[in-house]
């Protein structure tokens, strides 16, 4: 019997691991929703509706967490007792912080560019660099989680990814403001 308290992985019948088949996840999501969606119980009264709603919401919650690599990694750390504590713990290795500062300076430089085309090109180049770094750190996190099972070490990568994603968003905002 599966309950609302089951882990996201259990709920989706997937192995509790970072590596995941996205197609499988999507198919599973749709087949779960097919069972639980309130529309299935449109003619069955308030109680059935409420329960369906609870399940449907729970399935969407798990799906949103599993399909996002960062959220999935953080969730896996938490499941294995390694707290991410994103709000309280913001200490990062010096090298990482220096890179963040360099990126921020690069972003400020980009924003100061007057010519719109040059500005867009510069912002896109920066975004590409940030994305490459994101992919690299994500690969490290995947290895720590699935091969080494070193969840405490993986927490460091998860925090780094949070910083990187936040910065990537700011670059994206800069790009959106150009169009």
């Amino acid at each position: 019997m599966i309950s609302l308290q089951a882990s996201d992985f259990e709920l989706f019948g997937l192995p509790t691991a970072f590596g995941l088949d996205r197609t499988q996840l999507d198919l599973q999501w749709k087949s779960l929703q097919r069972e639980a969606h309130p529309d299935r119980f449109a003619s069955e009264g308030a109680t059935a509706q409420r329960i369906a709603m609870q399940w449907s919401v729970r399935i969407n919650e798990a799906y949103n967490r599993l399909k996002n690599p960062l959220k999935r990694a953080a969730y896996l750390c938490e499941l294995n007792g390694a707290a991410v504590n994103a709000e309280n713990n913001t200490s990062m290795p010096p090298a990482f912080l220096i890179q963040q500062m360099e990126w921020r300076e690069a972003l400020d430089d980009c924003k100061a560019v007057k010519n719109l085309d040059t500005k867009i090109t510069a912002l896109e180049a920066l975004l590409e660099e940030v994305d490459a770094s994101h992919a690299q750190v994500l690969a490290q996190a995947a290895h720590l989680l699935d091969a080494d099972h070193n969840y405490t070490a993986a927490v460091g990568q998860v925090r780094a990814l949070m910083f990187i994603e936040k910065f990537a968003q700011e670059v994206q905002h800069g790009l959106d403001a150009c169009t």
Partner: protein, 631 residues
């Protein structure tokens, strides 16, 4: 031996009791009702054979009313009492209507408590008194209900009613209220483009990513949908809820007046003149779909005017409108993170998509001709009928599941008039999301929650949906309380909000039923602004944040002084007092974030030693186990 029963031809009795379920397209200019009969969705005609019911209601002196074609026939004679396109006013307040002077109606403010705030839904004055858009819509819905009940000679079990994808909470609620007034059980509200996709998806068995281009009389919606194995997933929605065939009529009318040399009579036209001019422009527009050169005839001031308009002139007069459609299409593709090439087909919905310039613009942009196999006027009602049939449980083999998204982000107000998003837009529903907040002041026992909808960072730029309060929080230090705010959105897209203080378990809840909604242009504008004004927003946000920090610093310092002020020398105390005054002044008057930050920093710096002293004092106190008063 019992006799075998034989049913009438074409009326096979169902093995189980069949529930009568219909799909209703409650449109701006016209409405339709459809149902699945013998496994096929089809629109139901009235007793005169008309499928389309114009969404027009005329209130007659005394009692009685005319609905649909009859009302349209008399629109020019009695424009003030003949209400059309009321869908544009659903869930709207008077201040939301952009150009009331262009419309032939007498708008009135709502009565009672909402009147003062000007925020209640507007009404229109008729010979039978003030009528709200909900009442007018209910007349139309009731007419369609009777049509369905007459067709089946049975009571209606329920209906799926379609709404534009952009409809916000207030507008969806108003639509549900109208259905209730018409005595209709709403099985589900679904988005119009999604209904169109249901009609196409099931009829054609197509899979892949599709765009639904819906240009109706009064609204434009673009939806990007992914269809797989009977699941309709909305990847993104966008559009412009103040753009439709009516605007093309107006543009053509303006162009015609200009070429008649009558451009300046526009303002002085009577309601009757306006209605006649609009009708003439519409007739010319429709004729231009087949012909390239047509006459536009209009009588005004006892004089009949005739001017020839060409398709080229029409295209030029409306090119800005078509461009607005296409820019909304591009935005929706960006939201869905796909390119025009990824779209396998474009479904055309709404009578206005018959205009050649629209067909051409869509074909050019997507690099393929759009899909037109179903009647663009009927396709939405047909899709709604298929969904209704399944929700009523008539289609046991049905494998249709509709996964929908919310069109606009939902959030709450935080200190300084900023919006914290709790549910981002395009999130699949139903959904529940929570975020923890805390108190701002020591001993704060209540929390005001302000629920907002929109994409911008500042409260002033988003639409207010509801306010409620969480009371009875036990007094704690600022920042110690943990208040979890949970947003729940059901399958119809309607929101409820709950707040719970985690330590004490105090809670409060509200179902969001706003009395008014976003203006027609506002939603589209808000979405656009969140991108084009990102830079301006950031500056405004920085200043607000700096002010909040400054206020917080002042509060913290004051409470420290109240507790341990006696630890300071007179000299130090005087310095801190003067810095507090300076910061108070800067926070209240400065428009520069930097100035506020500097003043905050100065006070923080001056109080550093004081803070260290206090900490020492507390530690000593803890170590000695003595109360400070005993020292």
């Amino acid at each position: 031996m019992a006799l075998l029963q034989i049913s009438e031809p074409g009326q096979a009795p169902d093995p189980h009791q069949r529930r009568i379920a219909v799909g209703i397209d409650l449109g701006t200019t016209h409405s339709l009702v459809a149902s699945v009969r013998n496994g096929v969705a089809e629109c139901l005609p009235d007793n005169k054979g008309h499928i389309i019911l114009p969404s027009v209601v005329r209130y007659l002196p005394g009692q009685g009313r005319q609905i649909g074609h009859e009302a349209v026939a008399n629109a020019a004679l009695d424009p003030e009492n003949t209400l059309a396109s009321v869908k544009r006013f659903m869930g709207r307040s008077l201040s939301d209507i952009a150009h009331p002077e262009k419309l032939p109606y007498k708008f009135v403010k709502p009565e009672g408590q909402d009147a003062a705030s000007e925020k209640g839904m507007l009404s229109i004055q008729t010979v039978q008194g003030a009528k709200s858009p909900v009442e007018v819509s209910a007349e139309i819905l009731a007419t369609l209900r009777y049509r369905a009940e007459d067709t089946f000679n049975d009571d209606l079990h329920g209906a799926v009613i379609t709404v534009p994808a952009y409809f916000d909470d207030a507008q969806r609620q108003a639509t549900k209220d109208a259905a209730q007034m018409a005595g209709i059980n709403v099985l589900r509200l679904i988005n119009e483009p999604t209904a169109a996709a249901i009609a196409y998806g099931l009829d054609n068995g197509s899979e892949g990513i599709y765009a639904v281009f819906d240009l109706g009389g009064g609204t434009f919606d673009i939806s990007i949908l992914r269809l797989t194995r009977g699941v309709f997933e909305v990847m993104a929605t966008g559009g412009d809820s103040a753009l439709g065939g009516d605007d093309y009529d107006h543009a053509l009318a303006d162009a015609a007046l200009a070429s008649l040399g009558l451009a300046d009579v526009q303002a002085g036209l009577s309601a009757e003149d306006k209605t006649r001019l609009k009708a003439a422009a519409r007739a010319a527009k429709e004729a231009l779909t087949a012909a390239s050169d047509v006459p536009l005839v209009w009588s005004h001031a006892a004089q009949s005017h005739e001017v020839r308009v060409t398709r080229l002139q029409f295209n030029e007069a409306t090119s800005a409108l078509t461009a607005r459609c296409m820019s909304a299409v591009k935005k929706a593709l960006r939201d869905a993170k796909i390119k025009a090439d990824d779209i396998q087909g474009v479904v055309m919905v709404g009578g206005s998509t018959r205009m050649p310039q629209v067909q051409e613009a869509v074909a050019a942009f997507f690099g393929k001709p759009p899909l037109n196999n179903l009647n663009p006027d009927e396709v939405v009602a047909l899709g709604a009928a298929i969904q209704a049939n399944q929700l009523a449980g008539n289609d046991s083999a049905g494998d249709l599941l509709l996964l929908d998204v919310i069109p606009l982000s939902l959030g709450i107000e935080t200190m300084g008039g900023l919006v914290e998003r709790i549910i981002p837009r395009n999130q699949t529903i139903p959904t529940a999301m929570a975020q923890d907040f805390t108190t701002y002041q020591d001993g704060q026992t209540a929390l005001a929650l302000h629920v907002l909808q929109g994409e911008r960072d500042l409260v002033a730029d988003c639409r207010s949906l509801a306010r409620f309060e969480l009371r009875g929080i036990p007094p704690m230090a600022a920042g110690a309380a943990r208040i979890r705010v949970t947003f729940t959105v059901d399958a119809d897209g309607l929101l409820s909000v709950a707040a719970k203080e985690q330590i004490s378990g105090v809670e409060a809840k509200i179902d969001v039923k706003p009395s008014y909604g976003l203006s027609d242009t506002q939603i589209a504008q808000m979405l656009q602004d969140s991108f084009s004004t990102a830079e301006v927003d950031m500056k405004a946000r920085a200043l607000v944040e700096a002010r909040v920090d400054g206020d917080r610093m002042l509060l913290a310092t004051q409470s420290a002084l109240n507790a341990d002020g006696q630890l300071l020398s007179a000299e130090d105390r005087a310095q801190i007092d003067s810095l507090m005054l300076a910061l108070r002044h800067t926070v209240d008057t400065s428009q520069e974030a930097q100035a506020v930050e500097d003043a905050t920093q100065a006070l923080a710096h001056a109080t550093e030693t004081f803070a260290a002293e206090r900490m020492n004092h507390s530690i000593q106190k803890a170590l000695s186990g003595q109360n400070i008063q005993n020292l």
